[in-house]
Structures are given as C-alpha cells and as structure tokens.
Amino acid sequence: MRAYIARRLLLLVPTLIGLSILIFAVLQVFSPVERAALYIRDPKAAKNIGAIIRKYHLDAPLYVQYFTWLSEVLHGNLGWSKSVNMPVSEAIKTFLPATVELVAFSIPLTVIVGIYLGVISATHKDKALDHATRALAIAGWSLPSFWLGLVLISIFYGGLKIFPPGRLSTEHSIVVNSPGFIRYTGMNTIDALLNGNLEIFLDALQHLILPTITLTTINIALIVRIMRSGMLESLSKNYVLAARAKGLPEKVVINKHARRNALIPVITVSGLLTAGMLSGVVITETVFNYHGIGYWAANAATQLDIPAVLGFAIFTGLLFIFANLIVDLLYAYIDPRIRLE
C-alpha cells in the first residue's frame, strides 16, 4: 500500500510540471506587451510598460521567462484581473466560498441518487423502471446545462415567481454585508446559521435549489450509467451465485456483495465527475447570476481578461489533480487487491 501511495504522489510531480508548462505555452501565444498587461494594477502604470517587461524578463530567453513566471505563480502572484479589479489570487479567495457551497449540495446529491438509480435499474433489468432510468440518464447527459438553467428560471421565476436567481435577495444581501453580520466561511447558509439568522438561511437555500438541480442533472447521468453497468457486471459473477447459494436474502446479496464491487468502476470514474462539476459550475453560475468562481471565470473570458482565465485554469488543474489523487486512494481502500499490491 505504501508503495502505491508513494508512486501516486511521485507521479504528481511530472503532472504538476506538465500543467505549468501547458499554461505557460498558452501564455506564449500573446506578445510580450500583452503579457506585461498581466502585471499592471491600474491603467496609469501602462506608461512604463518597458520597465515591467524588463522586471518580469518578458523578453528574455524562454526558460528564464518560465522560471520567473513560475516563481511568481508560486508566490501567489497570478497577475491582475481587470474584470474584477483585484489580484487573481484575491479574486479566487473571495469567489470560492459561493462555489464550494453550491458544489457541497450538488456532489452528494449526484452520487447518492446516481448510485441508487443505478442499482435499481440494474436489478430490474429490461423492465419498465430500467428503461425509464436509462432514458432519464441519456436525456440528462444530452441536456445543454445552460439551456436547462434558462428553462428552469423561466418556469419557476418567470412563471411562478419563486426561486429567484443570484445568491441572496437584495435586502438580505445588505444585511449580510452589514458589519453586524460576521462572515465566518463566506458561505451564506452556514454563516446565516452561525449568526442565528434563520430567515437569511432559508433565503440562501431558496436561491440554491435551481442551480443545484441544474448541476446535478448534468452529472447524474454519468454515475447512473457506470453504476448500472458495474452492477450488471458483478451480478453476473459467480460470487453472487455463491452468496445466493448460502441462502442470503436477495436484498443482502445485492447491497452487500454486488454493490460494493460495482462501486469500484464508479470511484475510478468520479475523477470525471469533478471535471463535470467544475465545467458545470462555470455555466450554471453564469446562467443563474450566482457570483461564484465559475461566474468570475466566465465573465473574465468574455472580457478577454487573460490572467483571470489562466489563473482559473491553474486553480482547476490543481483541484482536479488532487481530486484524482483522492480518487486513487479511495480506489485502493475499497479494492483490497490494489491495497495489498
């Protein structure tokens, strides 16, 4: 097991270096002047652009540029995001809590419901329930997330006037930003509870419902499909037959013996789930005007705010790599054959 973890950690190094090279390569598409714009805080400083180019060695040979850029990044200086007028690293800190809140609701919902539906459709193979779940899964997988968001808003908010977009209704956001309200985590629902303000908590919850539904619908299809094929695979195996031969009730055979083996492919693919979640966040937050990190990135892209987009790309890359690491460790936990390699 230790060799397995050690190898996974060591594999991180080349991947991280590769990540930085890829981002750096994308950066090279721009001219030195544009790349200098990365580090300008306010328009007035644009005059001495020459000094900035020299300071950040933007015209030096490539590898020198790479190392200066890398050291800058490691010191947290990802450049200046003109779309929100603050340093990129600062922007990430301010916008991240909102996204974490949204994702914290969506991931468990996706995984739990996805696994449940996968198990049910596998155990009722080729019956009505199975076809219904598969059709639902395929529909979910084909739905354009931004369109789903718009339709939900137009029906609920437009038609029934409930579940408005954004993070909080205007009057509550005033209260939240007022000094009386202590921002512990930056996540409205939790902060509202910590400040004992049930009203804001319910309002925040109300704003979260539609974005969570959108985010879950896109990604649930992946889990249902993999879980269903995993279940079918393990149900056809001999150890399920042996479990039945022991006289175990069908419920135990399915939930204990078959399901645990079927979870292995689900875990290996849950790395994809994090990718699905991250892209989903960019779209969902834009549609619902939900000021999270995805909204900031999408906005930055439309305004060609290069440092912001690249900063976001680095952030998601890191998040994704560590998510994969956790997935690998989870994989080793559930499958003893890997654990005792």
Binding site: K125, S236, K237, N238, Y239, L241, A242, A243, R244, A245, K246, G247, L248, P249, H257, R260, N261, I264, I334, D335, P336, R337, L340
Partner: protein, 381 residues
C-alpha cells in the same frame, strides 16, 4: 436408507438472442441418504444447469418451466421450487453448493472470515447467541462491582436478541456500522472461533492468519477449501459439488478429493458430484447418472456402469478415454446446438445403432435391471 431429494421432470429454458435454448428436457433424478451420486456429461449436457436448478439458482435469461424439486424434511417431501419461504431456509443450511472456479466463487472485496461467518450468522444465529449468553453467565459469577454491572447489561442485550424482542431503539442502534461491531463484539468473537475451527477441519494450515486474508492472496487449492468450508459450515444434508477440481492442478485435485472423501465419512452428508472426468467418478461416486444434451440417458451403480454400459453414448464416452496403446475411438459429429435440438432421442445423429424410431420418439428412462436405468429404444422391456 430412503431418498432425501427427488427431482421430477425438470424442464429449463434459456431465452437468448439466438433463440430459446432447451437446456433441460424433463430430467428425473433422486439422491439416497449418505450416497454420492455422480453426474457426468460433456459441456452443454446440462449437468451444471441441473445442479443449479436444485437450489433454484438459474440466472436470467434462464427459467425453470416445469418440474418439482422435493426435499425430505422428516417424513414428508417439500417442493421448495414454488415455496420460496422454505427455499431460503434450505439454501446453505440443508443443501449447499461448491463451484468450479474457486476464486470466482469468493467475493474479492471481503475477507475469508467475513464470507464464512456470513453463513453461520444466517443459519446458526440462535446457537451462537445461547453460547454467548452462557459465557456471560460464567463470567458473571467471577465478575465484581462495576464489571458485573456491565456484564448484566450485555446479558440483557443478548437474551433480548435471543427472544427476538429487542427494544426498538436498541435494534436501531445496532444497525449503525461502528456500534454494531462494538455491541456484538463478544458474539462476533464466538463466531470467529467457530470459523477458525472449520477452516482447520478443511486442512488449511495456520487458519488464524487465513481468516483475515483476502481471496486473491490464497492459492487455488486453499480457495477451494474455503469454499468447501462455507458449504459445510452448517453441516448440510446434501452437498452439490459442480466440478470443484476441474480448474485445479492434478496434485491439488488429489488433495481436494482426499478431503471430500474424509468429510463424507465425518459429516455423513450425501453428495451430488458433477464432473466430465470419468476417473473422478470411478474413485468417488457410488451411483452415476450420464447426461447428454439436456437429458439423462443412463443411471447405474458405478461398478455396473463401467462393467457393462448399456447406452451407446456411455459406451462411446468410456471408449474415448485416452488409454496407452489402444486405438482411440472418437464419437463422430459435434455436441448438438440446443436451440433446435435433434428430434426424438437427441443422440441419434451421432449414434452407431441409429434406428428409424430413434429420430421420431423420445425414449423413456426405464429400469432394465435392478437399479440400472437407460433411456434408449434398443432396450424395450
């Protein structure tokens, strides 16, 4: 020494894309108490389907169309094919099964101990609860002060479980994974000791260590011993062994056959031994049923079968066993495709004594001599 199991005209069909496979076409079979009945046949003869049907384990797209499976309980015979409530009591307790691929029959993500104790907890729960309560009572006499107080609570829990009237809250609490391991730690220890004993009985060296190992860490022979341990944990009346040694090496097969012979005496259980190897039949079985393409063509005592086989297929099978120096006699043609099996007697296309009636009428299994049945038109009574 009456029968303990009677299978009456069992009919099984598989609904596949290629068409309906008529796997079993009216199989009649009975097993006497303490006897080892061999079922021999080539692939596709239906021997495995027969053994699976006895425990009603036919996986989809297969379905048991007709037939009765009668198991003797005391005096009268119960048909548990239709009565699932009885079936769940019989499976693993009175009839159990050993499979061909040992590592496929063990769940790779659970330890050996976990999978063997599963059967014990399921079928011998009361026995272990009683034993745990007795053990607590002993300790109670020796215990003092606070320890005594703890033991009394434990006694209350276990005797509550024993009489099945556990307060709702407690029963709910025991569902929580960590709590149930704590709450039932003594019971689990009791079960674990029994598992270790059974593994030792199966000839597994150092069972204390093996109990916590995973299937993939064991050799083929060891895995099969664990599967046999699972099957014999509740000393069943009937053990069904579906080619348990086919995937093992010759020397390991010898070890397992030796073990089965030993257990036959100790557990006094009757065995249905399914195989295609005539050598194993000769060594282990008292009576033999020969199957071909989903039908039983001959049943006889093992000495009788080898000395004077009646059915042409049995004769050909015995002659095709490679013996040095003797010209090999092969059976012409190939095993029939059971989507549209040959009419009448299913062996007629490959039979040397093929008569016109053979392709028209399906021969009945008739008793030609005491205990020697054959299904062939050559032997009209």
């Amino acid at each position: 020494m009456g029968e303990i199991l009677k299978v009456e005209d069992l009919k099984v069909r598989f609904y596949t894309y290629e068409g309906i496979v008529k796997a079993l076409e009216g199989v009649n079979l009975d097993v006497l108490e303490g006897e080892t009945l061999g079922i021999v046949g080539e692939t596709g003869s239906g021997k495995t389907v027969t053994s699976l049907s006895i425990l009603v384990l036919i996986p989809p797209p297969g379905r048991i169309e007709e037939g009765k499976i009668l198991f003797r309980r005391g005096k009268e015979f119960l048909d548990f094919l239709r009565n699932t409530q009885v079936m769940y009591q019989i499976r693993g307790k009175e009839i159990s099964m050993v499979f061909q691929e040992p590592n496929a029959a063990l769940n790779p993500v659970y330890t050996v101990g976990d999978q063997v104790s599963e059967v014990l907890v399921l079928h011998r729960r009361k026995e272990f609860l009683k034993k745990t309560v007795e053990e607590i009572e002993e300790e109670l006499e020796r215990g003092t002060g606070f320890k005594k107080f703890l033991l009394r609570i434990e006694k209350k829990i276990y005797s509550g479980m024993l009489k099945e009237q556990l307060p709702l809250a407690l029963r709910f609490l025991l569902k929580v994974p960590i709590l149930n391991r704590l709450g039932k730690s003594r019971f689990n220890k009791e079960v674990r000791n029994e598992v270790v004993n059974i593994l030792r009985e199966m000839g597994i060296g150092d069972p204390e260590r093996v109990v916590d190992m995973y299937p993939h860490e064991l050799s083929g022979g060891m895995q099969q011993r664990v599967v046999i341990a699972m099957a014999l944990a509740c000393n069943p009346k009937l053990l069904i062994a579906d080619e348990p040694t086919t995937s093992l090496d010759v020397t390991v097969q010898a070890q397992i056959l030796d073990l089965i012979r030993e257990l036959k005496e100790k557990f006094k259980s009757s065995i249905i031994y399914v195989t295609h190897d005539m050598g194993v039949i000769a060594e282990l079985c008292d009576r033999v049923a020969v199957m071909y393409a989903g039908t039983i063509c001959e049943v006889a005592n093992v000495l009788e079968l080898f000395k004077n086989p009646l059915h042409p297929y049995t004769k050909a099978l015995l002659e095709s066993i490679p013996k040095p120096g003797k010209e090999l006699k092969a059976i012409r043609g190939t095993v029939p495709n059971l989507v549209d099996p040959p009419s009448g007697c299913r062996f007629h296309p490959r039979c040397d004594y093929n008569m016109p009636i053979c392709s028209k009428e399906k021969p009945e299994l008739r008793e030609i001599k005491k205990g020697h049945y054959v299904a062939c038109h050559l032997y009209k009574r």
